[in-house]
Amino acid sequence: MSFLSLSLSLIFVLIPLALSKTLNLGLEKDTFVATIRSIIQLLAVGYILTFVFESGSYLFIILMVALMIGAATHNAQKKGVSIRGIIWKLVLTFLFIEVLTQAILLGFQITPPTAQYIIPISGMVVGNSMVLSILFLNRFTSEIQSRQKETELLLSLGGTPKQAIHLPLIQSIKASLIPTIESQKTIGLVQLPGMMSGQIIAGADPIQAVQFQLLILFLLLTTAAVTSIMLGFLSYPTLFNERMQMLKIKTGE
């Protein structure tokens, strides 16, 4: 795509700007800022990726992944303020899922050990893991609050924290996994996934693009399950003290 074509694509920004102005939606400034930010961020990433790909250094790959994990943690921790040490729990979860997926991909030589593969796949894995973490933490916090009486009842009957929190924990894990599973059921029927579409537009063989997309879908299933479960089991003990008493949940973000 030439820069002229890219410039012409700004028509798609002018349409919502015009609509917002006409209908007094007051979204002109936000739309403008979002457009400028996306241009700067993506162009910067483009140049950084070009540099990293050309350098072939694993140090830069690690730095890129670390940056992704840092940004994902910063974004997701706002939903888990009521859980003590949430930042380190998130970092550990993202790190584990990244190491696990790359170990399988590189270990079985499913993808080559180059920056072109490691960085985009890491982006998808960590990004998906971040969304799952937000979904899980949101649901878990509200489940704990709405089921507080049941949790205390189970403690009062002689249950351990793990037994008392079992139902809210399982419900939250299930609820956070549903969107991933449901979207995979309709994939290809309702929407063509972004990565596959991108490859086809760039001229790749559609079957090859589908094979890669399937790899990513399976990868994301593991990411989703491991993220929710790991984060859940890392988080629940911090809701209780050593006397198996439920600690107060801090509300608000």
């Binding site: 009842l153 009062s156 009957l157 002689g158 006397r243 198996m244």
Partner: protein
């Protein structure tokens, strides 16, 4: 205002200068007293006096900020929490139910220990609390307030507690159900020598079923002793409270 503990005999539970604060608020203030073993002690006092907080302290759901609580001579802070909560059972005013059947609720204390509650045992428990055995497979959403309270008591009894804490368990019941529960608790107390602590707003009930009583106000234990405390109060604060309750 703290009175000396006038209860005699062996204590199942003893509180020594117990205080409890939450978010800077003093909820229990330097309470010392005891629950005599094998007896029924009623807890009376206005709302917000700290009675339920005392029960939560005894069941180990919270810990004292100051002071200590002894259960049969052992500091409860040294007792493994699950053991403590099975030994000191609690039935709360709102009779929280777990979603599902009556059986699921009754079996829960056993389930938590990876054990099974036999159907016959569950039916026996139901009849003990005055419910027909046919209730076993009913969904808890189909139960009335009184029936839920009876199931809640039966569920607590599954652990065979040595001390049973009852928090206003008859406040939502009609006269007949209240009387059933009173007889049941007296039966459990006599038959199994279970020490009972019972929070009630009903002074008639406190006099009828209690061997002893604690009068609490504003987080303090104003007086403890025989139920005569309620019949002929000496303390002016208790006089005022009792007068208000009888009216």
């Amino acid at each position: 205002m703290q009175q000396a503990n006038v209860l005699t005999g062996k204590a199942a539970i003893e509180l020594n200068h117990v205080s409890y604060s939450d978010e800077g608020l003093d909820i229990i203030k330097d309470v010392s007293g005891s629950l005599p073993e094998g007896k029924i002690t009623t807890f009376v006092g206005p709302s917000g006096a700290g009675k339920t907080t005392i029960f939560r302290l005894l069941n180990g759901l919270i810990s004292p900020t100051k002071g200590d609580i002894q259960l049969f001579g052992e500091n409860i802070q040294t007792i493994e929490p699950t053991t403590l909560r099975r030994t000191v059972g609690i039935a709360l005013q709102d009779a929280t139910m777990l979603r599902g059947s009556v059986y699921k609720n009754l079996a829960m204390p056993k389930t938590l220990q990876n054990q099974e509650l036999k159907k016959e045992e569950a039916e026996h428990l139901l009849t003990q609390v005055g419910l027909d055995a046919s209730f076993l497979h009913r969904d808890v959403t189909d139960l009335s307030g009184g029936q839920r309270q009876k199931v809640s008591i039966a569920r607590t009894l599954v652990n065979h507690p040595k001390v049973l804490l009852l928090d206003e368990i008859t406040s939502s019941l009609d006269r007949v159900s209240t009387s059933d529960i009173e007889h049941l608790i007296q039966h459990i107390n006599k038959e199994f020598a279970v020490t009972i602590a019972w929070i009630t707003h009903n002074l008639d009930q406190a006099l009828l079923i209690g061997d002893y009583t604690w009068v609490m106000m504003n987080g303090e234990l104003i007086e403890s002793g025989s139920t005569d405390v309620l019949k002929n109060p000496v303390n002016p604060r208790i006089q005022e409270f009792v007068k208000g309750e009888w009216q």
